[in-house]
Symmetry: C2
Subunit: 389 residues, 2 copies
């Protein structure tokens, strides 16, 4: 279902011959049929941001987006003016098909960095996708398949508010760092909301979801999260409920990225409590989530708490004040580190579940934060060393 | 030879039964026979620093060290007061054997975090080591073997100044981050120098060596670098020459760590030129060195410049001002990224040598810096996931 769960949206996912994988759906189109065309976006902070990011940032700036075209099979990043011209030509083609302005068409790309797209295939694919547009669950599902790269499964969300709906899709598996760890995401709603409301809801929702997951610590050049409102339900939502629902959609999609992280055999939830501030808790969680040594240990089913506390120890005291002699660490409910030293034996920890819970109590305050990461496996190295490109 | 290359030092490396590896040399003793006992030290900034670090920091504070006892097979980190008592008891035993004060005996440990040492074995080993003390090349070699953990070979250095010598040994293979990426290091000299001179030379030497290598981004709890002067040559060195020689010793040892990084199949030198400041160059080099995706690509012999520039793009503009459209990247002499986009085809790059040279020109200024890292291989994951502990 994904983006077509909300009323007022049609979508398509087609084979355009952009991906090197023969017969793979690699081009998606999402159209907002109104009556509203309110939109908000959040983009990568990478200084080598891709041409489609440069294009779409401008498109979203005025709060209006009529359609989004997305492709896998090529990131169109580090492609200079020629790459930017490709994004623009793609938007112009979609605009002509829809009878609107190119300035209302967002463009997203994902795939290898540094190569131009096969533009003829993209533009022909846009026409094919336009012909295939539908508001059916299948059309939404097709779109969510077309944006996959190393993802092993599509990632979608459907949520119902009081008289309105939210749908969404995301792709992302590697190059996932906690600075907008997303790759490409489109969330749709049929609620009656303004662009300003959308931007506030999205920024807040992203902050506690996509910005709190880490597969490999690598920031992408193409990260884009778009939130589009059609207003087709005719319902003006309660602002708090709407914000919560957008945040829930982001969290669900972020969690699905972790569940499909490249090569991952364990999804790791790191909760830090007892911090002086939420920022302090977040800094500690992110430090632990970034530890290659811990992530290898977890892939070997060892709840190696030494690698947890040695990561905590890298967070500067002014960022996260705590006393190392008061820190406790539970893994899957077993307190294996007590007062900064050995607690119960780590052999007591059941590491068979895919989900691993690391609960760190700094015993320094009342603030907390949760981040997610994956373990580091042979398969991750295989995917990123032995790939064909 | 290692630490016994400089006159006035004796050393030993013995089997003490601390390591779980049957028959492995696991305890080293290095004694400064004078006439001087000047010393300097640099330690990990990890807030969960090990008991021997807490102990040795105090010992070195007054600029005098008579001997250093080092063990592999256990880090004595996160072991609380009982761990500190073990470090102190070890120092007291060595002090009694040498007829000096425990306050002049530094202690270093490396191995698993979170467990106490088998103290009886350590103390008995100290006696065995004391009996084995010698100033021979073999004694120095034995010491360098005794501190190895996942190291596959000992790492030593011998340099000659104008009438004086510098020797040294280091251990380190994993848990190597560019904040004192060392684990354990002892450098000796027979030059006549004060503790103040030693501290200045060591701080400067470490800054451009151990602080510029990164195996896996993980900071250790036990990092210790000691520089000891016996004055036995009777030569007061030219200060600049001495500083350069200490820096050269540190660089040689740091380079050896990279050459023996856990599971590494490529040693990667990342040189950043054209930066506005050395700090900016260093920040860019470290960002690239920390990229798991790039390190996987290199292990697969792919000079994936997209993963280089996407890492550069994570450095904030206020830290390293540059224009992404002016950046060039050469890998092993082939300019595969020009003006922030594709340059020559990456298939032209010969990736067969173990050493890979990544030369990044930011074209923004005249400052430069070089950092080293290793590739990320299946074997790294194997060592850190499937280990026995």
């Amino acid at each position: 279902m994904s983006v077509t769960f909300a009323q007022g949206f049609s979508a398509a996912g087609v084979v355009a011959g952009i991906s090197s994988v023969e017969g793979k759906k690699d081009l998606a189109l999402v159209v907002n049929n109104g009556p509203l065309d309110a939109a908000a976006g959040v983009f990568t902070s990478n200084r080598f941001c891709a041409a489609p990011v440069q294009w779409s940032r401008k498109v979203v700036a005025d709060g209006h987006v009529k359609a989004v075209i997305l492709n896998s099979g090529g990131a169109n990043a580090c492609t200079g003016e020629a790459g930017y011209a490709q994004s623009q030509a793609t938007a112009e083609t979609v605009a002509a098909l829809l009878g609107t302005d190119a300035g209302d068409i967002a463009v997203c790309s994902t795939g290898l960095i540094g190569e131009l797209l096969p533009l003829d295939n993209v533009l022909a694919g846009a026409k094919t996708a336009h012909e295939a547009l539908a508001s059916t669950p299948q059309a939404g599902a097709d779109a969510s398949h077309a944006i996959m790269t190393t993802d092993t499964k599509p990632k979608t969300v459907e949520l119902e508010g009081n008289g309105y709906r939210i749908g969404g899709m995301v792709k992302g598996s590697g190059m996932i760092a906690p600075q907008l760890a997303t790759m490409l995401c489109v969330i749709t709603t049929d609620a009656v909301v303004s662009a300003g409301q959308l931007q506030a809801a999205l920024a807040s929702g992203v902050d506690t979801s996509f910005n709190r997951i880490d597969v490999d610590g690598c920031m992408s050049t193409n990260d884009t999260v778009l939130l589009l409102a059609s207003g087709a339900s005719g319902v003006e939502p309660d602002p708090d409920e709407f914000n919560d629902l957008v945040a829930a959609a982001c969290s669900s999609l972020a969690r699905q990225i972790i569940g499909d992280g490249e090569g991952a055999s364990h999804d790791i939830r790191i909760s830090v409590t007892g911090a002086t501030t939420e920022e302090a808790a977040l800094a500690c969680g992110r430090a632990v989530a970034a530890s290659n040594l811990l992530k290898c240990a977890i892939s070997g089913n060892d709840p190696n708490w030494g690698r947890i506390v040695s990561s905590l120890g890298t967070v500067p005291p002014d960022v996260a004040p705590y006393d190392s002699n008061k820190v406790t660490v539970d893994v899957n409910g077993v307190r294996i580190c007590e007062n900064g030293g050995a607690g119960r034996d780590r052999s007591e920890v059941d590491m068979t579940p895919r989900e691993v819970h690391i609960d760190i109590d700094l015993n320094a305050g009342d603030a907390e934060a949760t981040v997610w990461t994956d373990d580091l496996t042979h398969e991750y190295v295989h995917i990123n060393a032995d790939y064909e490109s």
